[in-house]
Symmetry: C2
Subunit: 161 residues, 2 copies
Amino acid sequence: MTETTPDQAAARLYDFIRLIRPAHRRLARSVAAHLDGTGLSLGGRAVLELLAETGPLSVAGAARLLFLARQQVQLVMDSLEQQGYVEKRPNPAHRRSPLFALTDQGRRAFAELHTRELARLADIADRLEGADLSAALRVMTALVEGFGAYEDDPDAPRPLA
Amino acid sequence: MTETTPDQAAARLYDFIRLIRPAHRRLARSVAAHLDGTGLSLGGRAVLELLAETGPLSVAGAARLLFLARQQVQLVMDSLEQQGYVEKRPNPAHRRSPLFALTDQGRRAFAELHTRELARLADIADRLEGADLSAALRVMTALVEGFGAYEDDPDAPRPLA
């Protein structure tokens, strides 16, 4: 065990944090590159992934879970519906706010995309220790939870990209 | 040592990656909250930090190091100069592209800001193992380097915020 002073620990956490913006940008580029030929946007891909995990959602529900503005998700959902990736279902809780569910085409499209994304990640994961991955997940989770008080209004100004 | 299959490792790395967007948003909100009363924007703060580390830079040099568009950095730098946080210096390499250096006011403002930011981080770092922080930094570095091929044009479309 190495001894770390509180100041050193905060400084090391800050070094980690400084890599978040470049990581975010580079990963978004990579995800976007995999979208070529699918007709999907980054937002569209994010909505397909969410629906694959949670099942049918209203636009408001999807927006809340993605921390995005409702209007933004509405546009994405309309486009996914036109492309045949999602379809409307009646919403028992809210007659005027339908649920959206993946179609078979949408489920297949996301699965194929995600398989290619994971193959790309496997190259990087291969070079890392399993224990390091678990530790990294603990640190990132602590960070997201520790700064949870700042997550409120999805329509608030965006961070510096 | 736990055994991890390549598929499990990629999936665990993906779990980590999914937290990058929320972490990015929450941290940007927190940094922005510390800016209240300083007249600085998130971009202005990022430029002050860079100049504190590297010394005087041209707008083009700062833009390259921040992975931001030159025009965007020009606006930020002009505003910092008006506020007295930076000042022009002759550029021996480029007569028409001056260097910008921190003024004493700029150096003090960033130091005070960053002390408050690190105090906020210390609360979270306290609850983490030093070894976990080091591991997290290794994983994030591998990710940023592994996806380096996608980092090219700072004027390219922004990731989903």
